[in-house]
């Protein structure tokens, strides 16, 4: 493919007469928000939601736990989100280290540009159209969120920020005010989608996916697997990713949501994910967090209906200058509900992982079962790891299992493996792969392969 950067305004969902913006105003104002809403041709309720969110954002405090956000540069974000401010950073601006990794991973040229936010994902458009056709036949709505808001305003309104209201926390409010992009996926009753759907298919314009909003509604008896992100690093032109995912799992439906997050290290990744599961439904979260400088992410499942169940499987990796604060939340509100949390954290080169999880069993959740296992491995003496698995159990008739461990890689283990001819980096990656093995075996094969490749690369670079 010819190596040319095409910027097509219409793809951003802005009307073409949008004037370029030359200077940024200091903060987020009503005017900016109204402009965004106007250019996106949104219904009134959405504009109102944005404005209300903005007000909440300005009123509430920063989260009182988690990562340090004092260096977050709001003015840059404001400049970026203004209509007409083109997301046209050039390939030359993408840091060399990121290009190097693309090279090593053998990522195709066009994909590299999309991942670094400077080009559109051309190839995926064809794939996307094919999938669209298939989905239409099944009666599935699979659209980017902007189009969904325009095409199905009443349907979207029933779900949009109903599970995570803007009052939830400061970055939920920010998201409500400035969200753009994302996916709307509506699966009608008893439809089982045969292949995993990827958010990637909808990433049709550069820089999309910084404040994306994703809604999945799985009607009674339906099944779907959704994949967000990929293990290749994604360069964030901005330094903030504040997306939101809301998933509605109706009676007996099954939803699997997989994420691999590898934002560039300048990124603050403050993401909110929540699922509501009705009777007999099943929700599965599979999350890999490797990138970003600072992350706060706690995928949550509310087990609302009798017999609902959920699993949350995660791998968090923090390397040099990274602080990743992650954890799973399970909230049991009905009898006979089940949940499983499996978390593995790895820190090296001074990285810091913090597991912050919640298991809550409500007073009506008798005969429920939950297991929490969170273990952390530190690869050197500079790295840090904490675990804070909180449990609130309000019913005596439940079965709860719990395991939390933090350990450091032992030099004797490395020596043992090296006496068998493995190099130091091979020995280390053996141990790390072994540590995450119980989690990796839950992943699709290509994810596992990419993950291993990533770990080997990180370890090699740390030994040098």
């Amino acid at each position: 493919m010819k190596d040319k950067l095409i910027i097509d305004d219409t793809k951003f969902g802005f009307i073409p007469r949008a004037k370029p913006v030359y200077k940024a105003e200091p903060g987020l104002t009503r005017k900016i928000i109204e402009e965004i809403s106007y250019f996106k041709e949104e219904p009134d309720w959405m504009r109102e939601l944005r404005l209300k969110s903005l007000q909440i954002y300005n009123e509430i405090h920063e989260p009182r736990f988690g990562v340090d956000v004092s260096n977050l540069d709001m003015s840059r974000i404001v400049a970026y989100i203004k209509p007409g401010a083109l997301k046209a950073t050039s390939w030359e601006d993408v840091p060399g280290e990121i290009k190097e990794v693309f090279e090593k991973l053998g990522i195709p040229e066009a994909e590299r540009k999309a991942l670094s936010g400077v080009g559109a994902q051309y190839d995926s458009e064809i794939v996307y159209r094919n999938i669209q056709r298939k989905m239409e036949k099944l009666g599935v709505i699979f659209l980017d969120m902007e189009s969904a808001v325009r095409k199905y305003p009443d349907l979207v309104r029933r779900y949009f920020m109903k599970l995570v209201p803007p009052t939830d926390h400061k970055y939920a409010a920010l998201h409500g005010a400035i969200w753009s992009g994302g996916t709307f996926l509506y699966v009608p009753a008893n439809v089982k989608i045969p292949m995993p759907l990827q958010a990637y298919f909808l990433m049709s314009s550069p820089g999309m996916g910084q404040f994306e909003h994703t809604i999945i509604v799985a009607e009674e008896g339906s099944e779907v697997t959704f994949i967000e992100g990929c293990s290749a690093p994604r360069y964030n032109i901005l330094n903030l990713h504040a997306g939101m995912v809301e998933i509605y799992v109706e009676r007996g439906a099954k939803v699997k949501y997989m994420t691999i997050q590898n934002w560039s290290k300048n990124t603050y990744n403050l993401n909110t994910k929540r699922a509501l599961v009705e009777e007999g439904g099943f929700m599965s979260w599979i999350s890999g967090s490797f990138g970003s400088g600072k992350t706060m992410l706690y995928p949550a499942t509310i087990l609302k209906g009798k017999g609902a169940s959920s699993e949350s499987i995660s791998i968090t990796y923090a390397g040099e200058k990274q602080h990743l604060d992650t954890g799973s939340k399970m909230i049991h509100l009905a009898p006979h509900t089940n949940s499983v949390i499996q978390a593995r954290s790895i820190s090296m080169k001074g990285g810091w992982t913090f597991y912050r999880g919640l298991l809550k069993i409500g007073k009506n959740a008798e005969k429920s079962k939950a297991t929490v296992s969170c273990t952390a491995l530190m690869l050197d003496n500079e790295s840090k790891s904490d675990t804070l698995p909180i449990m609130e159990i309000h019913n005596g008739e439940v079965d709860v299992g719990h395991e939390a461990r933090v350990g450091r890689i032992s030099e004797e283990q490395i020596f043992y493996l090296m006496t068998r001819g493995l190099s130091e980096s091979e020995a280390r990656s053996f141990i790390v792969k072994g540590f995450i093995e119980p989690v990796v075996k839950e992943l699709p094969l290509e994810y596992a392969v990419e993950l291993y490749k990533f770990i080997e690369m990180e370890i090699e670079s740390s030994i040098g």
Binding site: E411, Y416, T419, R420, G421, A427, K433, E437
Partner: protein, 249 residues
């Protein structure tokens, strides 16, 4: 000369405590050397220093393997030259299958000269030979292995990985008599093929089954006396104090 250790002194890197205080040892291919000494005399440290454990630093002396100094080589490079250490306490590596580990190790040491199928067949045969429970091959490295099973796993590796020099650190502890016999016959067989052995032990038991070429008495960081099997008999009968006295005389 396969291994030639000259006046080797070493200490722990952390506490700088001297543990090897001038070890001299020469070993030829196919020879079986026994190093006997009381607990805490530094026998395991000698094995670790030969293998290049970064926990220790050499302060004086030299280790030559096939006439070349190996002092600057990392542990894996020493393994590639053909030195193998069977651990007194083999380490557990959760999440990595034992058989997969054996194959990776073999490939690291010898390259691609055999197919996975051939290697696995060989591993199974060896497992049977040392009565190593075959189910353990599919388990994680040493995780949930009994003490005896760990030791059998070590000797299985020593055979499978085809080294030139095998250091067995207390291989006999934790093994029942039948297993000691099996291990001993394997040692004899390998020695006949030209593989050299350093057998570190503080029991005489294994010497009922293995015929050593040299017995060394090791006390407080040094080899204080070397001789034949009669030396082991003497220790068994009278204890290490016999040698201590002869040393001071």
């Amino acid at each position: 000369m396969l291994l030639d250790i000259k006046n080797l002194k070493a200490r722990t890197r952390e506490s700088r405590k001297e543990i090897l205080k001038g070890v001299d040892l020469k070993i030829d291919s196919g020879e079986i050397h026994v190093i006997m000494g009381p607990n805490g005399s530094g026998k395991s440290t000698l094995a670790n220093v030969i293998m290049g454990n970064p926990k220790y630093e050499v302060t004086e002396g030299e280790i030559l393997f096939e006439r070349n100094s190996i002092m600057d080589l990392s542990t894996d490079k020493r393994a590639k030259l053909g030195i193998f250490l069977a651990f007194q306490n083999p380490l557990e590596i959760p999440g990595v299958k034992f058989s997969q580990f054996l194959v990776s190790s073999y490939r690291n040491l010898h390259g691609e000269d055999k197919t996975i199928f051939e290697l696995n067949e060989e591993i199974e045969k060896l497992a049977h030979r040392v009565s190593f429970d075959e189910n353990h091959l599919g388990r994680y490295i040493n995780v949930g292995f009994s003490g005896g099973e760990k030791k059998k796993g070590e000797i299985l590796q020593a055979r499978f990985l085809k080294p030139k020099l095998v250091i067995l650190d207390e291989i006999d502890s934790g093994l029942d008599v039948d297993s000691v016999k099996t291990v001993s016959s394997m040692i004899e067989e390998m020695a006949e093929e030209g593989i050299a052995f350093i057998l570190i032990t503080h029991y005489r038991r294994i010497l009922n089954f293995v015929k050593p070429d040299v017995v060394h008495i090791y006390l407080d960081g040094r080899i204080v006396e070397s001789g034949g099997i009669e030396l082991a008999d003497l220790i068994e009968e009278k204890g290490y104090s016999v040698v201590k006295r002869s040393e001071t005389r």
